[in-house]
């Protein structure tokens, strides 16, 4: 645990590209309305795949954000990351200029980088030969390129990094950015996750691992976290970005403050490549560490945005872990899985879910878990089924877990001016 003689960090800007819409407003309104962003896959012919549904980003126009020349040579995952980052900076009313550029950084994670480019260029290699592979293959593929390009587009010259921890990557990015500001390495950080791998290979590979829902006939009902009849996750794509800022700096420029980020817990199961520890121990410890980091007692937690993938294993084990981490209080805490509406954005999930969590803290409004019709007996907490709920949210956790046993929990708190209480 690091020293508490450190800086406070607040959220002053947000941006999102999601299956529910390509602005924060559209995304949030979709969540609160309980609208599903899941439909049949249109980006490739999925007719022969066992999973034919996904949460695709629709009506995204990269020319709204990128230089015309760049659109062709920047992968979709990086395009989403750049776009959401520009939204977040604009939302924060923050100008990166010569006097502050080295004090602003970028940490944006993803799970699989430019997989689409890998698949396309593999075809070129096999059919046309090695000399016909695009010189842009590497920069369009490597996972860190979103963070690098966001820096190019915004001018942020401070700490720059890409977390690659599967479906925990977005959460890790926000946590690491939080630490960068706490420790005085930056005054502002663009952070979150971005992903775009609704591709033939990715859908086939996750399908082979029996992790994807095959409820192809009813796309909007396919993602059903905590429901007895859930049968896998539905893949989504997009980006969720926060602009984190050192408190005094934010106050000094009169920035609006959505929430304070106060805790970051990260652990590893050290158990299995894809399955969580049956005891939920790793997930439990991530939440406990986030609470301890933020000086939060279990009875102060008022909302949890669950990882809630809609897979058999995750939802029951996350439920068990929440009970272990929060004791009896677990039964009184509203919990929701917004993946029921967006699908699972893999490395971007932690980004868009942190956005939802911060909005809940700021607005005292909790998005629902849709499609929760017949609760699994092993999932017996308050998952806010069907409809959003107006309820005061003082402290909220956002959970993200990834293949490899990576577990992240972030703690956000309603911002109050004055002496820090933790």
């Amino acid at each position: 645990m690091i020293s508490k003689n450190i800086r406070r960090v607040v959220v002053t800007g947000m941006g999102a590209i999601t299956p529910l819409g390509n602005t924060i407003k559209e995304y949030w309104e979709g969540l609160i309305a309980g609208r599903s962003g899941i439909d049949l896959i249109t980006q490739f012919d999925a007719s022969l795949h066992i999973c034919r549904i996904a949460g695709e980003v629709r009506d995204f126009n990269p020319y709204d954000y990128l230089e015309r020349k760049d659109v062709k040579h920047i992968s979709r995952f990086a395009q989403f990351g750049i776009s959401a980052s520009l939204q977040a900076i604009a939302d924060a009313g923050f100008e990166i200029n010569d006097s502050n550029a080295t004090q602003v950084g970028v940490i944006v994670g993803n799970g699989m980088g430019g997989l689409y480019t890998v698949e396309e260029q593999e075809k070129v290699l096999l059919t046309q030969g090695s000399k016909r592979c695009s010189p842009f293959t590497v920069p369009m593929t490597i996972a860190n390129m979103a963070a690098g390009l966001i820096a190019i587009y915004t001018g942020a010259k401070g700490p720059n990094f890409c977390t690659v921890s599967a479906c925990a990557a977005g959460g890790n990015a926000i946590g690491e950015a939080f630490r960068s500001i706490q420790l005085g390495h930056a005054l502002g950080m663009i952070c979150g996750g971005t992903e775009a791998v609704i591709t033939p290979l990715s859908i086939a590979a996750f399908g082979s691992a029996k992790t994807l829902s095959t409820a192809n006939e009813e796309p909007t009902r396919a993602s059903r976290p905590f429901d007895r009849d859930r049968n896998g996750f539905v893949m989504g794509e997009g980006a969720g970005i926060l602009f984190l800022e050192e408190l005094e700096h934010a106050l000094g420029r009169g920035a609006k403050i959505y929430a304070e980020i106060v805790g970051y817990g990260l652990t590893c199961d050290a158990y299995h490549m894809t399955a969580p520890t049956p005891s939920g121990e790793g997930v439990m410890r991530a939440m406990e560490l986030a609470l301890k980091d933020g000086g939060i007692f279990p009875n102060e937690v008022s909302y949890i945005n669950a990882h809630g993938t809609s897979t058999l294993a995750n939802d029951a084990i996350e439920t068990l872990a929440i009970k272990k981490a929060l004791g009896d209080r677990a039964f009184q805490i509203p919990i929701s899985s917004t993946k029921s509406m967006t699908g699972h954005l893999l490395g971007a999930a932690g980004g868009i879910e942190a956005v939802a969590t911060v909005k809940s803290v700021a607005l005292d409004l909790i998005p629902p878990t849709i499609n929760l019709e017949q609760p699994d007996p092993n999932c017996d907490l308050d998952y806010v089924p069907h409809k959003s709920r107006t309820q005061r949210v003082d402290v909220a956790l956002s959970n993200s877990f990834g293949f490899g046993g990576h577990n992240v929990s972030l703690a956000f708190k309603k911002f109050e001016l004055g002496v820090r209480s933790y």
């Binding site: 015309r68 020349k69 040579h73 000399k131 016909r132 695009s134 010189p135 842009f136 920069p139």
Partner: protein
Amino acid sequence: MTQQDIFNTVQAVVAKELANEQQKITLDANLIQDLGADYLDLIAMFQTLEDTFNTKIPHREAKQLVTVQQIVNYINQKVFI
């Protein structure tokens, strides 16, 4: 193929690869200074020119071609003369 035909084809390839408006691809346009090409853009563009004209443009020769006029002349000499 006439010199004009070559230019028209080169113009279309350059416009596509460098994401420029076709009318900006004049004979005297400099690929880097006027059309904003960088190192990777040029490699991709010469790959497409090779495919389009069914020829080889060695890297050391491609590096000497910095204007649209030079490309047109090169293609004309190598492929059509």
